[in-house]
């Protein structure tokens, strides 16, 4: 058997292409109805669900924020009592970080990456579906607990001893620990998906050196997830065990150590910020390229900066612990590292500016959001360099200055690029354009609102207002600035409402988008909007960094994959040379059932160690059903028996 792709020189004839499309449609389509929906393993269905779910959590987190701002609008307000306020800020932080930001980035990657690299699906479609279900159930579990008044109330990083068995009796901290476990599993699954898909399913000719910057961003992010998430997953398991079976990891009386929690948490927690931020850089690069109609300046510098950020992100965790009495030399080291990370971010900003400078930018809504990102992120970056200095940090630690800083970074660095991405890729997902004029209102109100909300918080921090307080006294004089911040929050809420209206009305009556409304450079624009279930009738062949800007009108493709089974092409890691064929699994209900088993395991474990005894067999049963041989093809078997 020859292991080579045989070169041919012919256009598939039109009737031939029709036949291929028709057969692919039969093989890959998702029939209507609930059951096929539950069984779907298509990265686009799963990705879309993921995106919508993450957006709903964003709205929930936003409603919690709005409630907190209502409470803080004036001194000694009574919207939320102290206990409810604790749950609200904890739920807001957990929701935004674990149920919105990371899953949203992963979700967009899972949707777009296969399209951008010319693949038919992610590498492990069933695992992908499983990851989504686990994420969904984790989120539901957290919110059901919250509505039962058992929401976490010890903050998004739940420090011990506060979160330990002694100071938080009841189940609230257990809910925290287990909800995190759900989301970590989903994130890890997503990252394995992305890495293998990117390494092995790229279109022929798409060498690493020609990969779109967005795909690079997702690759770096996925590796960071792989190395960072196990830390918090382990930490939360230790916490759960301290609470359930009286281990002593964090109990100083028996040789445990509360600082162990902080180390484990921040070794994850700081990379987490970059896990959210790096995909956003990828959005920005795609959008800048399209709307200036130029390749982003300095491709190697861009890639290296992202990779460097990925590494440096792991060297910074201690800067969250400057006030815990870290040794002097350690402090200097981590201050240095914290300042150094500004370098790769700076390089990227300069590359974008150079691109915009040289091109003729079109100020569409996605591009406006990119500009908004630059402005907000620079402000957040400035305050970041300020608090990297230990002396300064000791003054503002745990004040509203920090709240202001990280909202600028997170909203500027992640949410603005995300909205840019929504406007940019919405046509691809739905086949319709979002309204530009509503989009402009959305943008300007959002930008105004963020600054109204968070800029005054810098000053509140200097004046000594601590974070996580449910109210303050009249005499502090913090009332006016807090009122201003609340007005800002209302402005943000209004802009979000406009966005939702825009989405709903555009889904019905938006202008049809066509395949490539913006004139993009990457492969996702080569297929229909929304893409067919098989993505590409023929796998494209790539010979440059901007395949769609190549001069030839014809798109080179490979032929020879089967159309009657879910066939896909596997290529080599570095050079993306065709290497083998791989058959993807058909839709199946087992990922969902396995996720249900996982949920039973985790939830019962909150109440009794016997949960493991009940849950593990269920989980194994799920996996057995998953791997059960079905739909196999005899001819392949014969081959084996013949040779054996």
């Amino acid at each position: 058997m020859s292991a080579e792709a045989v070169p041919v020189q012919a256009a598939p004839s039109v009737p031939e292409e029709e036949r291929v499309r028709h057969e692919l449609e039969q093989t890959w389509r998702q029939p209507p109805g609930l059951l096929p929906w539950l069984k779907s393993v298509d990265h686009k269905s799963v990705g879309k669900r993921y995106i919508i779910t993450a957006f709903i959590f964003f709205v929930l987190g936003g409603l919690e924020a709005a409630t907190m701002r209502a409470q803080l609008a004036r001194p000694e307000n009574t919207v939320l009592g102290p206990d409810a306020y604790n749950q609200f800020f904890s739920m807001h932080g957990i929701t935004m970080m674990f149920l919105f930001a990371v899953p949203m980035m992963t979700a967009i990657g899972l949707y777009l990456v296969p399209l951008m690299i010319g693949a038919r699906n992610v590498a492990f479609p069933r695992l992908n579906a499983y990851g989504y279900w686990v994420y969904l159930f984790g989120g539901l579990f957290l919110y059901i607990s919250f509505f039962l008044n058992t929401g976490p109330d010890t903050g998004w990083f739940s420090y011990v001893p506060l979160a330990g068995p002694e100071f938080t009796p009841g189940k609230r901290a257990d809910v925290y620990a287990q909800a995190i476990t759900f989301t970590e599993i989903a994130a890890l699954v997503g990252s394995v998906e992305l890495i293998v898909t990117i390494f092995k399913n790229r279109a022929p000719g798409m060498t690493l050196n020609r990969m779109p910057l967005f795909v690079w961003a997702m690759l770096v992010q996925a590796f960071m997830v792989l190395f960072a998430m196990p830390w918090v997953a382990t930490a939360t398991q230790f916490l759960a065990m301290d609470r359930l079976v009286a281990t002593h990891f964090f109990n100083p009386a028996e040789g445990g150590d509360p600082l162990l929690w902080q180390h484990l948490f921040w070794f994850f927690g700081h990379p987490e910020v970059y896990i959210i931020f790096i995909p956003a850089l990828g959005f920005v690069s795609s959008i800048v390229a399209t709307f200036t109609r130029r390749q982003v300046f300095g491709y190697p510098a861009m890639v290296l900066s992202m990779v460097a950020t990925g590494f440096l992100g792991f060297g910074l965790w201690v800067h969250h612990m400057f006030t815990t009495g870290v040794p002097q030399l350690g402090q200097s080291f981590f201050t240095g590292a914290s300042m150094m990370i500004a370098i790769p971010s700076g390089i990227q900003i300069f590359c974008w500016i150079a691109t915009i400078w040289a091109g003729r930018p079109r100020f569409t809504v996605p591009f406006l959001f990119v500009l908004g990102f630059v402005v907000l992120f620079i402000i957040g970056g400035f305050t970041g360099v300020m608090i990297a200095s230990v002396a300064f940090d000791q003054q503002v630690h745990d004040t509203y200055f920090i709240v202001a800083h990280f909202h600028y970074v997170l909203i500027g660095g992640a949410v603005f690029p995300l909205f840019a991405a929504f406007y940019y890729w919405f046509p691809k997902l739905t086949g319709r354009m979002l309204s530009e004029s509503l989009g402009r209102w959305n943008f300007w109100l959002f930008l105004l609102g963020v600054n109204l909300t968070f800029f005054p918080m810098h000053q509140l921090g200097f004046e000594g207002m601590p974070r996580r307080v449910y109210t303050y006294l009249e005499e502090t004089g913090w009332g006016d600035l807090n009122l201003l911040a609340t007005i800002g929050a209302v402005t943000i809420a209004t802009s979000m409402l406009l966005f939702v209206i825009n989405v709903v009305s555009s889904l019905r009556q938006g202008a049809p988008a066509g395949d490539d409304p913006w004139g993009g450079e990457t492969l996702e624009w080569a297929t229909s909007s929304p893409p067919r279930p098989y993505n590409f009738a023929y796998i494209p062949v790539v010979s440059g960094r901007s395949p769609l800007w190549a001069s030839s009108a014809e798109m080179p493709v490979v032929t020879g994959l089967r159309t009657d089974v879910r066939d896909t092409l596997v290529t080599t890691v570095l050079d993306a040379e065709p290497d083998s064929k791989h058959r993807h699994p058909n839709p199946t209900i087992w990922p969902l059932l396995t996720a249900v088993a996982t949920t039973i395991l985790f939830v019962t474990l909150i109440f009794t160690p016997w949960g493991a005894v009940i849950g593990t067999p269920l989980l194994l049963l799920g996996l057995l059903g998953w791997g059960w041989p079905r739909g196999r093809e005899k001819w392949e078997q014969q081959l084996v028996e013949g040779e054996a």
Binding site: S2, V8, L226, T234, G256, M555, V557, T559, L561, S580
Partner: protein
């Protein structure tokens, strides 16, 4: 819709490939990284907590027993021989050899799981006695979770191999299972040294 031009025909490419050419190998590697990191964290926590004590194990706690754990670590290392042999058989497309190898390895996995039970007892400390006990138990538990999953997978896979549903690509799957096995047994060596031997030195 763009006009297309065929430049290559891939119908002759193989369907069954091994090692880093196969998707599953990379997926397995991903999970090895995740689980390797988790075990590394357990080990780091072990050393971190060690600093809180003047003696190790803490006072009034016996050192772990060594007999069973040492048998286990030797068994784990030795189990790589039949697994490696099965791996080779799969690459030769030798179904009979593969069956034999997996049968032996399934039996070994059962033995390892049983021995693991006694290893917990060999720790000579309860998880709720002190932080020392907690972290030793946690490390062992983390590895046991992986062991149980691999036991289940190996047994199920062996059953599949003896059924009449075998496909050519299962041979590649067998090889990936072997890859995971090397990790699972190999990583136990340093963990064994930390959990069972280090209390004699630290």
């Amino acid at each position: 819709m763009r006009v297309t031009r065929a430049v290559a025909d891939v119908s002759a490419l193989p369907r069954t490939v091994f090692g880093h050419r196969s998707l599953m190998w990379w997926g397995t590697l991903g999970f090895i990284i995740i689980e390797g990191t988790t075990l590394f964290i357990c080990a780091m926590s072990y050393f971190y907590l060690r600093r809180n004590y003047s003696t190790w194990p803490p006072e009034h706690i016996f050192r772990p027993a060594l007999l069973i754990p040492t048998i286990q670590v030797i068994l784990m290392l030795a189990s790589n021989i039949p697994m490696w042999w099965a791996d080779r058989a799969s690459r030769r497309m030798d179904l009979q050899g593969l069956r034999a190898g997996f049968l032996i390895c399934s039996a070994l996995a059962v033995m390892m799981t049983i021995l693991r039970w006694f290893e917990f007892r060999a720790l000579n400390v309860r998880w709720d006695t002190s932080a020392y006990g907690s972290v030793a138990w946690a490390t062992l538990t983390a590895h046991t979770t992986l062991l149980v999953l691999e036991l289940a997978e190996t047994v199920a896979f062996t059953a599949l191999l003896f059924g009449n549903q075998v496909e050519e690509r299962d041979l590649s799957g067998a090889s990936d299972n072997a890859f995971y096995w090397y990790f699972l047994t190999g990583v136990w060596v340093p963990l064994y040294a930390i959990v069972f031997l280090s209390p004699y030195f630290m």
